[in-house]
Each structure stands twice: as C-alpha cells, then as structure tokens.
C-alpha cells in the first residue's frame, strides 16, 4: 500500500516501512545517486567548490534586501513584470490574475518545488485551467495523483511496472518495461501540450541581481520549452534564490549539478532575461516574475539563516539513512523531504503538524552535513528546531517531566548514586515507563551491571588492583 501523505505521521511511517517494494526502490535509487555524486565531487577540488558555493550564497543572503531591489530594477528594465507575494495565497492569486487577463486555459509547468509548496496546481485546476507537469517524473506523479517524493527525482518511489500500468490506464499505451518506450510516449503526449499551451510556469534555480536574469536548470529540456514556447511565462521565485553575479549563478549551477546527479553540469541551463526581443521568432511576449516570501523572511528572523543557503540539490536526501527507510511521502504533504525538508518544512509552516514531527525524524548522524555543497549544518538546525519546540512548550508533559527529573538527578551526585542503585533493584518496574516500553517493542533492553563503575573503581583503587600492571 502506498504511503498516504494525508495520514498521521505514525501511520505514514508504518506504511512506508511495510512497503518492501518502496524500500527496494529507494535503496537502489539513493545508492545510485550517492555513487554518482561521490565520483563527480572526487573529480574536482570539491573543498574549494564548497567554500566558493557557501561564500556566494552567504553574500546573497547577507545582502538579500539590496539584491532583491537590484534584481527587481533590472527585471523591469529587461521588460519583465515583477510581483511580490508575502504568502502562498498572494502568489496563487497573482498567477490567477495573470491567467485571467490572458484567458489562459492550458498551462505547462516545469518541475518546481515552490509551486508544490504553494499548492498552485490545485488552485489553477479549481479555476478551470488545465495544468500539465512536463518533467517526466512530475508528469508521472501527476498522472498518479501523487505529490513528488524527491526534489530531484520525483518518482524515485515508483517501479517501472507501476509506471507502465499507469501509462496504460491514462494514456492507453501498451505494457512495457522499456524506459525508452515510456519516455517516447511521454514525449508525444507532452510535445502536443507544449505546442498548444498559453502559459508556461517555472520555478527558479538562481536569480541574478546584476542582470535581472531568471535561471532554470533542467536535463530534459522542458524548462526551455516552458520558458520559450507559450506566449506568457511566469517564474515563481523564492526570495532566497537571488545571487549577486553571473559568475555566482554559473558556479552554483556546477555545484548543484555535481551534488544532485553527479553530472559536470545539467544538460540545459536557461538564463531568461525578459520577454522575446523585437524580431525574435520565439520566446514569451510577456514575462512575469513573482518574488515569494512565504516564511522565508521568518527563517532569517530566527536563527535559521543557514537553511536559506540551500541550493536544492538533494544530496542530503540521497545520503540520509532515514529517508532511505521511509521515502519522501512520509514527510507529509510537503514537497521538501529528507534532512533539508525536515528543517524547512516546519519553518515554512507548510503543515503545522510537521513542525512537531519532522525535526525528530533524524538520527543526527551528520551524513547530510558532509555532502551539502553549501556546508549547511543540518543537524544543528534540527537540534535548534527541537529546542524551539520545547521552549514553546510543544513537547509532551510526561517527556518534560522525565527530562527535568534526569537533569536534576545527574546534577546531584548523591541522589544519582541512590537512584542508580535503586534503578537496578526496581528495573522491572522501570521497564513499564513509556520510553523503555517503546524501546523494548523491537529491541532488548540492556541490563544493569551488578556494580557501578564508580564503585568498582573505588574498590580497585583502594585495594591496589586498579591497574593491570600493579
């Protein structure tokens, strides 16, 4: 049974862990991406590339308001229309307004997590506008009526047999396990969509302030189609995407490509600086840019500035041992999964429940921090999110009491000594305590030693056997 993103967290976890096919798919995919990345970063001076990446991102965030104003000015000078949106509702409203002005009926989209974040597809469809996802993976999850389960490879959770059956049902194609055949079917289907669409919508990988340029990274070419064929093009840009210079964008593109898929660079990198110029055969007649906050300024207001450095490469997801067990849908309705998802989903307050669950969905092993091209200390951010929850008194009362008790007795050596001995005696009752009961559901509990180390130490010291050499 697939993971139901609307179910409670505990249910989603159980569904994911019970799904052997899902976990086999996740294993294979994440291992492949991990290996590809490892080879790609070994081929260059990755330490330096990371330092440069972090420096470029830090500069952008430190100067964010100024760069946004510069970006806005240059976009307008390039002939774009710029809109600002505080939240999802404002962004969606702006898109609907633009669609209304042009009587848009068919929208093509290139893969964009920010549009998932604001629930754009649903809103457009409710207004009677057809929306087609054109990234192959996004197209497949859209056909299946599911959200993406990975920011780079959205259909990482599906086997080819599932996809073949889905295409058979929705597109009438014959069953096949040849990916090229499925790909060709999608190409035919989507090509006709591109040719009739009256609006293209994309996200944005980097927005260059000095030239007023929206950069879109794809491998399939759908990003080029969406930004070139329809008469109206709308880019939805999270405000943290801005970079200072062209060189920074090219640098980050390389860092992201190596980290995401192990390529030197992605196949296509489109730098869009406005509508088509006089005499151009193609390109949109209108280009709109929506600068979206939706919680991002709050990330900076609190102590989570590091999270804004993220370039959405997904490397942290591919190395995450927790993601590998549960997949993206277990993180809920959010498009952001894995370690970075566990950090930014609560901060963007995409789903209030997620704020209480996701910061704990990590063993804090640190594998994510090691691969992050922007050197984001994800475990630290997760720890800080946890302590924020506790400060806001969002943790269970029993847990608060238990931690308080722990902190009290370990600070009082005499009390500790008494309790440590008592616990040994009353261990069978201790076992009934909720945390230990939870532990013991799948694992045996350790036994107390007959004597504490401190006592053994004292005895040995006193009778002179404390050292093997004596």
């Amino acid at each position: 049974m697939p993971v139901d993103v609307a179910a409670p967290y505990a249910v989603r976890v159980r569904q994911a862990l019970a799904d052997d096919a899902l976990r086999a798919a996740l294993d294979r995919a994440t291992e492949h991406l991990r290996d590809r990345r490892a080879q790609a970063v070994a081929a260059v001076d990755f330490h330096r590339l990371r330092d440069q990446t972090r420096a470029a991102r830090c500069y952008a965030i430190e100067h964010l308001p100024d760069l946004l104003e510069q970006l806005e000015g240059n976009l307008i000078a390039n002939g774009c229309q710029v809109h600002w949106a505080r939240d999802a509702a404002e962004a969606v409203g702006t898109v609907l307004d633009i669609a209304g002005v042009h009587s848009v009926s068919d929208v093509v989209k290139s893969k964009s997590m920010v549009t998932e974040e604001i629930g754009l597809n649903d809103a457009l469809q409710r207004s009677g506008i057809d929306v087609v996802e054109t990234d192959l993976g996004e197209f497949i999850v859209q056909l299946a009526g599911e959200p993406p389960s990975h920011i780079i490879t959205p259909v990482i959770h599906k086997r080819i047999e599932d996809i073949s059956a889905l295409f058979g049902e929705k597109l009438g194609t014959p069953p096949t396990t040849d990916p090229a055949e499925l790909c060709a079917a999608a190409r035919r289907e989507l090509r006709s969509e591109f040719l009739v669409a009256d609006m293209g919508i994309s996200g944005c990988n980097f927005a260059i302030a000095e030239t007023g340029t929206i950069c879109v990274v794809t491998n399939e070419g759908n990003g080029r189609m969406v930004t070139s064929l329809p008469p109206v093009y709308v880019a939805i840009v999270g405000i943290e995407k801005v970079v200072r210079r062209v060189e920074d964008a090219v640098l980050l593109w390389q860092a992201a490509s190596r980290s995401a898929t192990g390529q030197d660079v992605s196949v296509y990198f489109s730098l869009c600086s406005g509508p088509r110029r006089r005499g151009d055969a193609d390109g949109p007649d209108e280009m709109h840019v929506i600068l979206l906050d939706n919680g991002r300024s709050r990330i900076l207001e609190r102590r989570y500035g590091d999270a804004a450095l993220c370039i959405r490469c997904g490397a942290c997801i591919n190395v995450c041992p927790v993601y590998r067990e549960i997949g993206g849908h277990t993180y809920g309705r959010t498009p952001y999964s894995g370690p970075i998802g566990a950090v930014i989903t609560p901060l963007l307050e995409y789903d209030p429940r997620a704020a209480r669950e996701l910061p704990f969905a990590s063993s804090l092993c640190g594998a994510c921090r090691d691969v992050c091209p922007a050197k984001i200390d994800l475990p630290r951010l997760l720890l800080d999110l946890r302590s924020d929850l506790v400060e806001r008194r969002a943790s269970p009362i029993g847990e608060r009491a238990a931690v308080r008790a722990y902190a009290s007795f370990v600070r009082r050596p005499a009390l500790y000594r008494v309790l440590a001995s008592a616990a040994r005696r009353f261990a069978r009752f201790a076992r009934a305590l909720p945390p230990l009961r939870t532990w013991a559901r799948t694992r045996e509990l350790p036994r107390f030693a007959p004597q504490r180390f401190a006592d053994l130490w004292r005895e040995r010291r006193d009778d002179g056997t404390g050292s093997d050499e004596e």
Binding site: D370, A407, A427, R443, F453
Partner: protein
C-alpha cells in the same frame, strides 16, 4: 551508561590508559554530559547538566591535577567539544570554562593512538573483528584511523571490512524512542551488513550504539555482537557475558 550498564568498558579504558603511561583519576561526582536532554530539545536542562560537568572537571584542570579528559564515547566528547560552547551565552562565565574543557577533551582511541602511543600488550582475540565508525566520532570528531590502527594490533584477530560501514546504526538518542520503528529498521540494515562482513564481533566506540545493536541482536538473534573497542584492546573478560537478555528473563533491566 558506562557507569551503570557497562562498568567493564570503563575499567578497560582506565587500564588501557594506565598501560600506556597515563595517570588516571576519576573525579567523584561526575555523572552525564547532558546530551540526552539536548538531543531531545531541552537546552535549559542540558545547560544545567553541562554546568555540573564543568563544575566537576574545571577545577582539577585549572589546578593542574589533570591534563586531559578522556571518555570512551565519541558522542559524549563531541557534546563537550562542540555543543557546550553553543549552550552558553557569550557573557556566561561557564562558556570560557567549557571551551577550556573542550580543548583538552579526547575520545579514548584518539588519545591512545595520537597522544600516548598505545602499546598493544597482550591483547588477543581469536576471531574476526569488523569496525563500525559511530557517527559523531567519525563526522564530528573526524576520528576513524585511530580505532582502526589500535584494532590492527590485536593478536590473532582478523579484521574484516563492514559494507556501508559509515552508515548510521539508527540509534540517534531520542530518535531511538520517538522514531523507534525507523531506528530499528536502520539497525536491522546494519545487522544485515554485519552478517555480510562475516565478523564475529563488531567493535565500536560508543556504548549507546552498542546498546542499540545488541538490543536488536538479542531480539532478532543474529550472531555478530557489538563490543566496545576498549574491551577488545584490554582483552578484558567483562566483554564476554551476554549483556542483553530476552524479555522473559527474571531481571529484564532497564537503561
């Protein structure tokens, strides 16, 4: 944990340090570094425990009674070195003391290999040993070569590689309770790799990961047992008893 659950690890560690020429003292009144509270999000409680730790360890450091603090746990060392400075505000006098403590706090194998020049003595283990690098040891402290070097000195032992060794065992502190099912799934994956390695025991440098792996082992019944590196190096008999018992035993004790 070492104090109440695994005194053998503590004795082995002390014995190794002594054999390598260090004078070992065990300051009375020490308990825990506070990591469990911090890990669960209770910064204030963690800070209280950290103050206690500083109160116990800073005076002997300050008056020259001790030169270094050595712990047989990578995770606790990472807590003291990396998290303590973040727990105290800039103007808190504990911050400076915590940093001074952090500067001289070492993980056991690191101290033995890098500072003492550990002599193997007669450490002997007739079997196959593999090594699991615990996450905080490996990634926060960057310690990996040292325990491997030390294990290589054990006589009669055959060291075998662990597939996907650097993958987390799934313990993760509060994660093991709050996300017990995922934690166990990760532990079972580690168990599969342990079986694939063909090792009789897996050596590691953290008793918490050891408890988790042996807890799964006792329940699922796979053969490779987790043992603290110190116990193998000391060749101490304490490493032998089955330290985790099935649930229906008379004394199913708690940690």
């Amino acid at each position: 944990m070492v104090d109440t659950l695994y005194p053998g690890v503590g004795l082995a560690a002390a014995s190794l340090l002594r054999r390598s020429g260090a004078d070992v003292v065990f300051p009375d009144g020490q308990t825990c570094c506070g990591q469990p509270a911090l890990n669960a999000g209770y910064r204030n409680d963690a800070r209280r425990v950290a103050r206690h730790f500083v109160d116990i360890f800073h005076p002997p450091l300050d008056d020259g009674t001790i030169d270094a603090i050595v712990a047989p746990s990578g995770s606790c060392v990472a807590m003291v070195k990396h998290q303590y400075p973040r727990l105290f505000e800039d103007d808190d006098p504990y911050r400076r003391r915590a940093i001074e403590i952090g500067d001289v706090t070492y993980e056991l194998t690191q101290y033995l290999a890098d500072y003492l020049g550990f002599a193997p003595g007669d450490a002997r283990y007739a079997g196959k040993i593999t090594y699991h690098p615990c996450c905080h040891l490996l990634r926060e402290l960057g310690i990996d070569a040292q325990p491997r070097q030390l294990l290589a000195k054990i006589q009669d032992a055959e060291l075998v590689e662990l597939p996907d060794a650097e993958e987390c065992c799934g313990f993760g502190g509060v994660f093991a309770i709050k996300n017990a099912e995922i934690s166990t799934a990760m532990g079972r994956r580690k168990a599969k790799n342990l079986a694939a390695s063909g090792a009789d025991v897996v050596a590691l440098c953290d008793v918490s990961c050891m408890t988790h792996l042996n807890g799964i082992r006792a329940r699922d019944g796979y053969s490779c047992r987790a043992v603290h590196v110190a116990e193998l190096l000391a060749g101490s008999p304490e490493s032998e008893p089955a330290d985790q018992e099935p649930a229906d035993e008379e004394y199913p004790d708690a940690g």
